[in-house]
């Protein structure tokens, strides 16, 4: 009976609350390394909306917001809804103000014109900005695409 309860609890926890993931790729280096194991807390944004600096799991398609996808993007939120994000001289400016990013360890020389987030959009980007801007998957994610916050 105890084993059955344990199995059910594990299933519910790891299917619907803490989603186990394996990091693939280097776009979040050095914060999260390639092949590292982590969990996505799907209940993180029940009481509040995503915050700047949160590392989140993002589903590819916004329309299918219930099921658990096989693959997700892992990115850090730098821009909140309605804000303007601008990359200049390797630094990020939010509404014209320089954003302090202590988690960045690699040199960056990105230049990109200002991008305005919609009322339901968050600007997400990886921590590894040593790679060229065009090779780095980044941009505006809809709130429905954000599945949860990285647990560890």
């Amino acid at each position: 009976m105890r084993i059955l309860v344990l199995v059910v609890v594990c299933f519910v926890v790891f299917k619907f609350i803490l989603l186990p993931i394996r990091v693939s790729g280097i776009s979040m280096e050095p914060t999260y390394h390639n092949h590292a194991v982590n969990c996505v807390n799907r209940l993180a944004y029940l009481r509040h909306e995503p915050q700047r600096g949160d590392v989140v799991a993002i589903r590819f398609a916004a329309e299918d917001s219930f099921s658990t996808p096989s693959e997700m993007l892992m990115k850090r939120i730098i821009g909140l809804p309605g804000e303007t994000v601008w990359f200049h001289g390797g630094h990020v400016y939010i509404n014209g103000q320089l954003l302090d990013e202590p988690y960045l360890k690699n040199p960056c020389d990105w230049e990109h014109e200002a991008i305005q987030c919609g009322t339901n959009q968050y600007y997400v980007v990886g921590d590894n900005r040593s790679m060229p801007f065009t090779y780095h998957t980044q941009g505006r994610a809809y709130r429905e695409q954000i599945m949860g916050k990285l647990f560890l």
Binding site: F60, A61, S70, L73, T134, T137, Q138
Partner: protein
């Protein structure tokens, strides 16, 4: 007791009949999802697979598309390209198959939507592609448009979708 047994047998037969019906007469959603799954299998080549086998798979890939099909992709770091018609798709597929030692293609989390006329359908999925012996893989969201042509579902358009705006 005899009645319960008969009811159970009847329920089992009913379930079996329903299952058989879905196998023999699959819904359009199931058919296009099977086509997508087959396409991934055809686009996968293994290390040591011969040129004849690769050519055969390339033909199978092309057969999934309509004559005037279009593939439009825009991948970060690679660029944008459009292939029009079966000939261009075949040439590009063959070139890819011949230049790679192996290629693994999976179409994950497919979602199919069939049009009201039951003659057209759309599928969105996430492609997971591993080229050569690399331990890393590429991920790209894709959108397929299907049309029922001469009784068979064929892809009329395939394109990459930007997950982040």
């Amino acid at each position: 007791m005899k009645l319960v047994f008969r009811l159970v047998v009847l329920a089992v037969l009913g379930a079996l009949g329903f299952w058989l019906w879905t196998v023999l007469f699959p819904s359009p959603e199931k058919i296009v999802l099977k086509k997508i799954s087959q396409l991934a299998a055809y686009a996968t080549i293994h290390n040591g697979e011969g040129n004849i086998s690769r050519a055969g798979k390339a033909s199978n890939v092309v057969s999934a598309f309509a004559n005037d099909a279009e593939i439009s992709f825009d991948v970060e770091g690679v660029g944008a390209k459009t292939l029009s018609g079966r000939d261009e798709i075949h040439d590009a597929t063959m070139a890819g198959f011949m230049s790679l030692t192996s290629l693994s293609v999976q179409f994950l989390d497919p979602i199919a939507r069939v049009g009201a006329d039951k003659q057209s359908a759309e599928v969105t999925c996430t492609a997971r592609v591993t080229a050569g012996d690399s331990k890393n893989f590429g991920i790209q969201q894709l959108h397929f448009q299907f049309k029922k042509l001469d009784g068979d579902w064929r892809i009329t358009r395939a394109e990459t979708v930007k997950s982040l705006q």
